[in-house]
Symmetry: C3
Subunit: 326 residues, 3 copies
């Protein structure tokens, strides 16, 4: 494909050698003359100087320095589009792999892919076009929407963690609820979405969960929510639409994260807390607005200085007291 | 089942319409006239106002406002009992699924359930009535007691993490110990209990582990210990009986958590630390008694105020010094 | 085997009863007269007093008190050597288990062991002597070196977590890169190494990863790096050779941990940070040199004292002001 053809495919303009032949896409550091690469961050602008890429996907304000570039508003998005055209990832085989074990009354949508050694319990529904990679386990009574992607090792619908302490031991609170997963949801390797005790644990349309995410019973994760790896939430937590949750975040029971909130990686949110939304960023344990968190860090960092000031005041005060006593 | 029959089954009293027909159990927010629901917390008392549930399981002091209620000391426990009667969770099929792979000399107790694609190594013992959900992996030489529940993806008996650094690289310290799991233990999805280097890694009777819990080699988890999701403990740690460990807690090597201690979610406990028991609650990193942790948080939060006080003192001191100089 | 034979095998000296018969190796607390045990730490020196072990592997300066001991520079390493001789762990069967599912163009090295229900995608290479325990999933295009050990539940090569937000929803950034794992690498149960978006995610020769470690796309983990359980790193992070990373550490995107750095358990490292190497120890969130971290903790702990000092100054200052006003 020629540079000018790529630009035309993306519906944008190019500068430089439009007749240059492009064989594929590569990262800046390993790209050669036959590759196109993208410059998607300030950091990448620096790396782009040293890159041997034959063509760069860049933002309108990128200083090309005479290189062959294709200009677009979102170089990363354009690159994603190009990868899907030029070197699309291999699609898993459609249909149910012969080693998969399905329970009674399972419904598998058209063009869905159920990989090797997947195990589905009774009454499981998988929507059209959804991909279950090998070794996904779906317990009974779970519904998964269309066009989803669930990676290997994920377990959907295992029992929530509920016990009643009685006479010196824990009795299980039976977990008889369900799990409902919307359309276009991606769930990473080893993630677990527990079934509700009663009622439903749900993941909204378009939500994206990274690896090793733990969703406790009766949680409700909204639409287009993003949750990075190793984050966990206990029972009954609600994450509203478009919230963005970092990695290794921990949430207690019955937390509410409002729509559009951003929770930084490693944050800890206490049970029953409400985290404000609308793009506000929260950080730390206990989680608080980023500005407060940074101020707190700064205040602690300035403690040695504060201590010196207090010592200085003590010295001056003592001098005054002495002079008065004389 | 009628309300009065439910009350009789639970051995407690009801108020209101004893002839009301109950078809099932539902959470407060989705329950209808045919459902019984339970009010198990202060939060739930509020939610109960808006609930359309035909009958409520409530504590003796709940103000019914004329609704049909069943009164008992532990509504949540009563509800668990009722679920087991009215809508018991489907029991996995007894016996060894034909796709399970068992090593030599395995002993599977009566009525145990070994799910699809479980893999058991040599010399594995599984007690009577224990359920292994699909995709559980048990390495060689592991003993699991009776009436346990192990969820999909759990791995019991993988090598502990032990290496000897020698001549510029790490040599494995052979992990030749065992794992011993007591009776009535529940282990969540993706949890891992590593085998001992030498000796035994053990989980006591009645212990409950949530999802993605990591138990390092040679740890000893006591009886009726509860460990929430994503908590991990390095080698040689001892958790005594009836301790309660929150989620995402991290423990170094050779920690001791005394009997009955409560460790809050997200806490970090340094190697070789001893955490006091007897119901004391510990929090933070490094973990400390909750009172100290809260005081520390409050002290940091009051830093801006302290700084202002110091500035005020400095101003007043300067004024005094000036007046003295005059 | 006799004590003198063991000493000879290890190429070191013994004291005491060289003719004593040793049947096996055991930990200090359960060893009997027929067992050898090792004293590998100060803590163990104390435990050794109470041990009934017939022979102890000890350092040159250990005070034997008349017991039979074998002296060597590295008792733990010597014990590892002895375990491999006297009670070597059972080796998994060589070859590909008949239940394993292999894609096209897979290359399995000599004496490699591919366990039950392993699933390998297309174009996967596994080096000579490498062990894949049951239930390991390797996606397409992954290369694993020789003499490695990968524990059950590990997933290598699942998609990295990359999305482009466009028109109110997230579009997947296709993950078309590869994973390259060196020789002599051990990967724990449930760990996940994601494929690169473009390019390569790599794990260097001799690296050791504990359970539930998450390696994001395009990370580069160096040679002989050690990573303890439940640690996660987002995309593009570089861990240089011989770094040691504790458990439950979290790293943002594009972090660089320099060669030989030590990162304490539970640390959090912000995106794009560079952590100094050369044996320096880093701790806390945000991660900083251990000395700074400890000072910060101490400063916070001394806050009540500082507050009292300020109050005392205020009282004295007020007294001065009063006396001046009189």
């Amino acid at each position: 494909m020629l540079v000018r053809e790529i630009a035309a495919y993306l519906g944008v303009t190019f500068e430089g050698d439009g007749e240059r032949q492009i064989a594929g896409i590569a990262p800046l550091d390993t790209a050669g003359a036959m590759h196109v690469s993208f410059v998607g961050s300030r950091r990448a602008v620096r790396d782009a100087q040293a890159s041997a890429a034959g063509c760069l996907l860049v933002t309108p304000d990128f200083q090309s320095g005479g290189r062959t570039v294709i200009r677009c508003v979102d170089p990363r998005g354009a690159c994603a589009k190009l990868i899907r055209l030029l070197q699309p990832p291999p699609a898993p085989a459609k249909g149910v792999h012969h080693t998969a074990v399905l329970g009674r009354n399972c419904s598998i949508g058209e063009d869905a892919s159920i990989g090797a050694y997947c195990v589905l319990g009774d009454d499981v529904t998988v929507g059209a076009g959804t991909i279950l990679y090998p070794h996904v386990t779906i317990y009974s009574g779970v519904t998964i929407g269309a066009r989803g992607v669930i990676h290997s090792g994920a377990v959907i619908g295992a029992d929530g963690f509920g016990f009643v302490f009685t006479e010196g031991h824990y009795e299980k609170f039976p977990q008889v609820g369900r799990v409902l997963i919307g359309d276009d949801v991606e769930i990473g390797a080893h993630s677990a979405v527990d079934r509700a005790a009663l009622g439903v644990t749900s993941i909204g349309d378009g939500a994206k969960l990274d690896n090793m995410v733990h969703i406790g019973h009766n949680c409700r994760v909204g639409k287009h929510v993003v949750i990075a790896a190793q984050t966990g939430m206990a029972g009954g937590t609600v994450i509203e639409d478009y919230a963005v949750i970092g990695g290794q975040v921990g949430m207690g029971d019955n937390v509410t994260v409002k729509s559009g909130a951003v929770v930084g990686s490693g944050a800890g949110i206490l049970s029953s807390k409400v985290v404000r939304g609308g793009g506000e960023v929260h950080w730390g344990t206990p989680a608080r607005p980023l500005k407060e968190y940074l101020e707190s860090l700064a205040n602690v960092a300035r403690l040695p200085q504060l201590r010196r000031e207090v010592e200085e005041l003590a010295r001056r005060l003592e001098a005054l007291e002495k002079s008065k006593g004389e």
